[in-house]
Every structure is written in C-alpha cells, then in structure tokens.
C-alpha cells in the first residue's frame, strides 16, 4: 500500500517534478537563471498570457473556444490610447475593462442567441475587432501616457504590478470556479449542457457570462501587456490566441469541456515563459527557440497524458473486494 502511495504521489506531482528538472537544467547552464529576480521576471512576462488564458479556461471549461482574445486586446489598447488617454487611470482602466467585457458580450450574444458555433463566431469577431481597432488607430502605433507606463514598471510591497494583476485575476477566477454556484454550474454545463438545462441551470446565462469573462480577462491581459511594451502597434495581440490556448491546454484543461482549472493554466503559462527565459539566459541560438520550446511542451503533455492514464488505472475503485 505504501509503495503504491509513493507512486501515486510521484505521479500526481509529475508536472511539478518536470518543472523542477527544467529549472535545474537551465540553472546549470546559466548561473543567473536560478535567482529570485529572474523568477519574478518570468512571472511578469507570463502575466498577460496567463491572465488571458485564465479567461480562456472558463471558455474551454464549457466546451467553447474564443479565438478573438487577441483582437479584443487590440481594441481595448487602441481605445485606451486614443480616446481615454486624458482620463485618470482609476477611470480609464475600468472603462477599458468594460470595453473588453462588451466585446466578450458580443461573442456571448452571438453564440447564445444566434446560436452560431463558437469557433466561427470568434473567428469573425477576431476580424471585425481588428478591423475596428485598425480604423481607430489608422495603423499607427498607439502610445500611452507616462502614468500607464510607470504603472507597468511599478511595484507595490515589493511585488511588481503585473504580478499583482495576475494574482488578483487568478484568485478571483479560482474562487469563482471553486466557491460559487456559478463556478460549479459552469463545470456542469461543460460536462453535459442538456443535462444542465434539465437540472434547472440557466445554460444560456452561463455561456454568455463565460464569454464576458473571457473578454474581461483579455482586456486586463491587454492592459498588463501594453503597460509593459509601452505601445500598441498594428500587430498588438495578433495571433495571441495560440499561446493562450496552448497555455490553457498545457495546464490540463480539456478542449471538450468539463475538465480542468485555472491553477493548471497559471502553471502552463509560467512553464512556457520559463523555457523562453531559460533560452535567452543561456544565450541560445534564436533559431533553436521554437524547436526547444515545442519539444519541452511535447514532453510535458506526453508525461501528463501517460500519467493520467496510469493514475486512472491505479485509482480505479476495484469493482469487488478480492478475497485474500
């Protein structure tokens, strides 16, 4: 029994162990890698992807998908930089976030009311969103006020603002998913929308809200990103949907709904960033970046999927108590 427990422990924590191996490997190659400062860096850089991926987790949990998050980021950034720049931050940031929510609400409305498949809905809002933002910006780089940029560099109680934002979004999402009726109903909808309807859950409301949440997260992620990169060029947020979905799925959330959570998503986002960071720290040939990153993601998912099947076998309740 004890041997089995150890095995279970190892298996359950494989991703963490893998992560440690990775840290050790990069640590050996660069003495600057294993420092607190660097880890803070990694988390800062993972923050915007991580935040958006948290929103994406909600969408994937109900079996949907949102390809428009990158476009949403760009719409929010260009409106903030062009039209809200004279407002004080406590006003302009909430307004920008509301705009992200509105974008998400459009997705949600089309998906729930017009009943268009999520993939196509968000594919088309991706195009429309970018079009609108480009119209506002006239293709030009959108700059931001010094206050916003200062916010990007600021630290509170020794913790950089991006990490605060990341932590806050994570905490809110975690609590929502695990501690509220909405969160639990969301898992039910993801597992079986028809059954959820029969159980008296307002499925439409949940689906709609989920796209709104994804919109809000995209907006917040966009704000974090722009406060760091300082300008939004016409490619701001372009093709962000891929790393975002990758981080979410790497974190163990199923594309088919009902399974996963935001803790894994955070882990997925940080893992990808750790590898990128490690490669820069070891001054690797830039051509090798995608090769190394993809191999590591591959190994992580491979280990995770084989682990899941072994775990299932080990944890499966024996159908009968065997006689000695």
């Amino acid at each position: 029994m004890n041997g089995r427990n150890t095995k279970l422990f190892v298996l359950r924590n494989t991703p963490v162990l893998l992560f440690l191996v990775l840290l050790a490997a990069f640590g050996l190659m660069s003495d600057r890698f294993l420092t607190i400062g660097n880890f803070v860096n990694i988390v800062i850089q993972a923050a915007h992807i991580g935040i958006i991926a948290i929103g994406m987790t909600f969408v994937l949990l109900i079996g949907g998908i949102d390809l428009s998050v990158g476009a949403n980021m760009y719409v929010v950034a260009s409106v903030l930089g062009l039209f809200l720049k004279d407002l004080p931050l406590p006003v302009s940031f909430p307004l920008a976030t509301l705009l992200g929510l509105a974008f998400g609400a459009v997705n949600g409305w089309i998906v729930t009311r017009l009943r268009v498949a999520a993939f196509i809905t968000t594919l088309s809002t991706l195009f429309v969103g970018r079009g609108i933002a480009l119209y506002f910006s006239g293709n030009k780089m959108v700059g931001f006020t010094p206050q916003i940029l200062a916010l990007g560099r600021a630290s509170y109680f020794g913790v950089p603002s991006a990490i605060w934002a990341f932590a806050a979004v994570f905490a809110a999402a975690y609590v929502t998913l695990s501690q509220t009726t909405f969160g639990r109903q969301l898992y039910a909808v993801g597992a079986d929308p028809d059954a959820a309807g029969k159980a008296g859950i307002d499925v439409r409301r949940i689906v709609f809200s989920v796209y709104c949440i994804a919109g809000v997260c995209a907006a917040i992620g966009g704000l974090v990103s722009l406060s760091q990169v300082a300008v939004a060029s016409s490619t701001f947020g372009l093709q962000k949907e891929f790393p975002v979905i990758a981080a979410t799925v790497l974190g163990g959330t199923s594309l088919f709904g009902g399974r996963g959570g935001v803790l894994g998503t955070v882990f997925g986002a940080v893992l990808i960033q750790t590898v990128e960071n490690g490669l820069v720290m070891t001054n690797a040939d830039p051509y090798l970046y995608p090769l190394v990153i993809s191999v590591i993601i591959f190994i992580a998912v491979f280990v995770d999927s084989s682990r899941t099947s072994i775990l299932e076998r080990l944890e499966r309740r024996q159908i009968r108590v065997e006689r000695a």
Binding site: T181, A191, I319, R320, E322
Partner: protein, 513 residues
C-alpha cells in the same frame, strides 16, 4: 406536512393533450395524486407516458388541459418552475454530472450561500445538508466523492436525495431500475416506501410490470396516447396490464422455446480466464444452438467477463477458443474474425452512432465484407440490400432506413439496430449484455424471438441479464456468477428463481454497491 391521514388529492390533471408536428401523441390524459400515493404508469414506448411526465416536469408545454396543485393552477414553463412547485423528475438517463461531487450534484441548481448578496458557497452547510440527505436514502459515501466513482445504483440514490433536498412533493421515477442490481432495486423500493410514509407522492414508470404491481397503489395504463385503463393494485394483474397495453392478449411474456434435442459442436470454450479485480478462473463452454444465460448481481463480473471475452478489456491469463480455434490475443477484430458478436449493455455509449442513420449503424461492423478490390470500394447496392434485409428481419420501425437518425428512435428500435448490426455478420457466437434493458414489452418479445431464431440457426447465444425471469424464460442453461467466479450452473430442468438468487448472493454480504 401531515401524514396520510386524509388522502385527499392535492394534485390533479385534466384533459392533457399534446401534438408534435401535427400528430397528436397525447389525448385527454388525466389523473390525480394524494400524499403518500404511489401511482404506476405503464405502456409501451410511444404510448405517451414520457410526454405526460415531461408536461408535468415542465420539459414540454401542454397544448390543452389543466393541472392544479393545492387547487391553484399549475402550468410550468421550464424544469425550474416544476421544481419550485415541488415536482422532481428522475430521468432514466440520470441527470448527474460525473465531473462533480455528490454534494455539488445535490445543490447544482442553487447552493446555500455564506452571506446574502455574496455568491460564495457555504461549504460547511452543503456538507452537513448532504450528509443528512444521504442518510435519508441510506447512502454511505462522503459528500465530496465524485459521482464518476459511484455505481449506477448509488447514482440513483443521489438523484433521490436531490429530490428530497428540493422538498419535492411529487417524485417521478422514469424506469429507475433498468440498470440496478436486484439488491439495489430492493433498496430503492425501501426508500420509496420511506418517501411515501413522509407523505410524498410517487409516480412510477416502468416496463417491469411485476415491480409496478409490487410497488404501486394504483396503476394507469396508456396506449397510443390514450388512457386505456386505471385501477387500484388489487384489481390489476400483469396479464391484464399487458392486454391493456398492447390492445390484445399475449399468452406469454416469452416466445415458446423448444430446447434443441441435440446441441452442436462447442462454439465458445473458455478455460482458466482470470483478470485481477475482475474475474477469476472462468471456464465454460457454449455449444452451437444453445442459449446460455449468465446471472449474477451487478458487479459480479458478468459484463466484465463478456468484455474480456470480446477483447475490450485486458486479461492476464486463460485460453479462449472460438469456433474451435484458439484466439491467442483477444481483440474485437480477432473475435469478430472468428464469428463472435457482442451487444454491450450501454447502447448509447458503445453501441450506436446517435448522429448516424439506421443504415450506417447496421452496416458498421460488416463494412470490410462489402469492400471490393484493393481500394475496398463499398458495393453499395449489395450492402443496401443486405442492410434492408436485416432491418426488416429485426423489424426496425422507422420512416427511412437511410435518413432516420439513431437518436430519433425509441429504445426498442435502437436496440434492434444494434442487434441488426451484428446479425448482418451472421455470428456463430453472440453475446448479449442486458439485451432488453429499457425497452418495452412488445420490443422485448421481439428480441427474444430473434434470439430463438439465432439459436435455431445454429449459433451459440450467451445472454447476460439482471432479470432472472428473463433468463429462466429464455435459456437452456444458466451460469451464476458471484465475486468474479462462476458459482453455480443450472440446466433448464433445474431452473429455480430462489436457488439462482441464493447462488448469486453467495457471500452476498460482501457485494459492494
């Protein structure tokens, strides 16, 4: 709530009518319920039982009619409103979320909150209330257990606990025992008894007429959307119910089976088959023309045995010979190559392609046989003819074999589609796991006839069933399994319900739910 002192009805329905696409499926249906009453509802599939209950449960709106609860009009627009009026509907396909815990399933429609106005779930209260409700249905699992880890019977109890949690006054059971073991069924009936003593009215829908008779105070019989009979239990018999249901008399539940005078060669031989935690040292043989039954409680390893034999689940040791030749590595393809067929117990998950037509479903297992030349182009005419032949042989009732999707068929017709799929292969060995689960009397009779015909044509048939009557009615020989082993064998002459049950309960105290 006062007990059954004065059995005055608190619920009544009059003149319920419903049409789909211009076809009236329910005519002038009406009944009433008083606290603590158990009302049985029987009828063939499509007779209007489910429609009635869906109207009651707020799933469908009624076209005409009137329902009242406590004298006030009741007209639910969705399941939520029905629930708010104290009506709980326990569907045949349980409405539980496997990825959530027992406690979460109980409260999914609305969790108790920590503070008014804040959305946070009061976990402690959920846990306490869950324990209370689980105790009320005698289910001994932790509230945090995931539903995916419960047995079918346990899940049923969770559904009942859910109804109790919603303060239901009427609980509707739609075919609750189809996937329960005998013991679980007994336990369910105990619980139902307890509910009625609390003054809760029960509507019980089932194809198992014996159960209905045993359990219900009053029984209503539906046919083609009309209420064709209703009487207290004392005035009903199983025969009368059947006669009312089908509109004619059926002499027997089972078609006459003349046991073959001389059995053929063994078509399936199993020796020393073992798999840890599943089955142990199984050995038996099945001969051509024989119908062999396997009885046992749920979890006794019956389905597991069949799944191992068909190569779906792995096995550690043992020898299997199909049609005289040894199959060294079991797999569905290898077994099929030797002429074996297998009807799984879960036809939705493992038998049918719901979104595909009848023809596509029937053809599925036989496709390579109709492949022509190297590219294996399908000979469509020949396949079409064969599919049509089999479909009419098993009497699938549907407007169009090519257009009608499996999901739009009744349970009985769905089962016939799966059987047809295997018959198209003309199997030498046919294993059927719960072949009549959830299908109506008429369809059952037809399935039995198909089985008889198969055996008469020289195939070996292996039937797994939880209904002992079904096995004794159908089989030439019955094996009884318990705890993964074969415990007893009965020849037709020795069939005895009591003895079979006793063998199945061998060390029965250890049966895990």
């Amino acid at each position: 709530m006062s007990a059954q002192a004065a059995p005055a009805p608190f619920f009544s329905a009059h003149g319920l009518c419903k049409s789909f696409f211009g076809v009236q499926v329910l005519h002038d249906m009406g009944f009433s319920l008083h606290p603590g009453q158990v009302l049985g509802l029987v009828g063939e599939n499509g007779s209007g039982k489910s429609t009635t209950m869906n109207i009651l449960g707020g799933v469908l709106p009624m076209d005409a009619g009137r329902m009242t609860i406590d004298g006030t009009e009741y007209r639910p627009r969705n399941p939520r409103e029905a629930e708010a009026h104290g009506i709980a509907f326990i569907h045949q396909e349980l409405n539980l979320f496997r990825n959530l815990s027992v406690a979460e399933n109980l409260f999914i429609a609305g969790f108790p909150k920590k503070l008014r106005g804040l959305p946070f779930i009061d976990r402690a209260r959920v846990r306490a209330r869950t324990q209370e409700l689980l105790a009320a249905v005698d289910l001994d699992v932790a509230p945090a257990t995931l539903v995916s880890r419960l047995s079918q019977g346990e899940r049923q109890l969770v559904e009942i606990a859910k109804a109790l949690g919603a303060n239901a006054r009427i609980v509707i059971f739609d075919e609750p025992t189809t996937s329960l073991t005998t013991r679980e069924t007994d336990r369910l009936f105990d619980i139902i008894g307890r509910l009625r003593r609390q003054g809760i009215a029960i509507i019980y829908i089932s194809h198992i007429l014996g159960d209905v008779l045993r359990l219900c105070d009053d029984i209503l019989v539906l046919r083609d959307g009309h209420l064709v009979g209703g009487a207290p239990k004392s005035q009903m018999t199983v025969e009368r119910m059947i006669t009312l249901m089908v509109g004619r008399t059926i002499e027997q539940m089972f078609p006459p089976r003349d046991p073959p005078i001389e059995l053929g060669e063994p078509v399936l031989e199993v020796r020393g088959l073992s798999q840890r935690g599943m089955v142990k040292d199984i050995g038996f043989s099945l001969r051509a023309g024989e119908v062999l039954g396997i009885s046992g409680l749920m979890g006794a390893g019956r389905s597991e045995l069949a799944r191992i034999l068909f190569g779906i689940d792995p096995c550690e040791s043992g020898e299997v010979r199909i049609g005289g030749s040894a199959v060294p590595k079991l797999s569905p393809a290898a077994c099929m190559a030797q002429g074996m067929a297998f009807l799984t117990e879960d036809r939705r998950a493992e038998g049918l392609m719901m979104e595909a037509s009848i023809a596509d479903n029937v053809a599925l297992a036989s496709l390579p046989r109709f492949g022509r030349n190297w590219a294996r182009f399908i000979e469509r005419t020949r396949l079409g003819d064969e599919v049509a032949r089999v479909s009419s042989a098993v009497r699938i009732v549907a407007p169009d074999q090519r257009r009608t999707l499996a999901k739009n068929l009744s349970g009985g017709n769905q089962q016939k589609v799966v059987i047809g799929k295997w018959l198209l292969r003309e199997p030498r060995v046919f294993m059927l796991d719960e072949p009549t689960r959830g299908i109506d009397v008429g369809a059952k009779y037809e399935v039995y006839k198909i089985i008889n015909q198969l055996a008469a044509d020289g195939a070996g048939v292996l039937v797994i069933s939880s209904e002992i009557e079904e096995l004794t009615g159908m089989c030439d020989r019955i094996l009884v399994m318990a705890q993964g082993e074969i415990r007893a064998e009965f020849a037709r002459a020795e069939f005895d319900r009591e003895a079979i049950l006793r063998a199945a309960m061998w060390h029965g105290s250890k049966e895990p739910a």
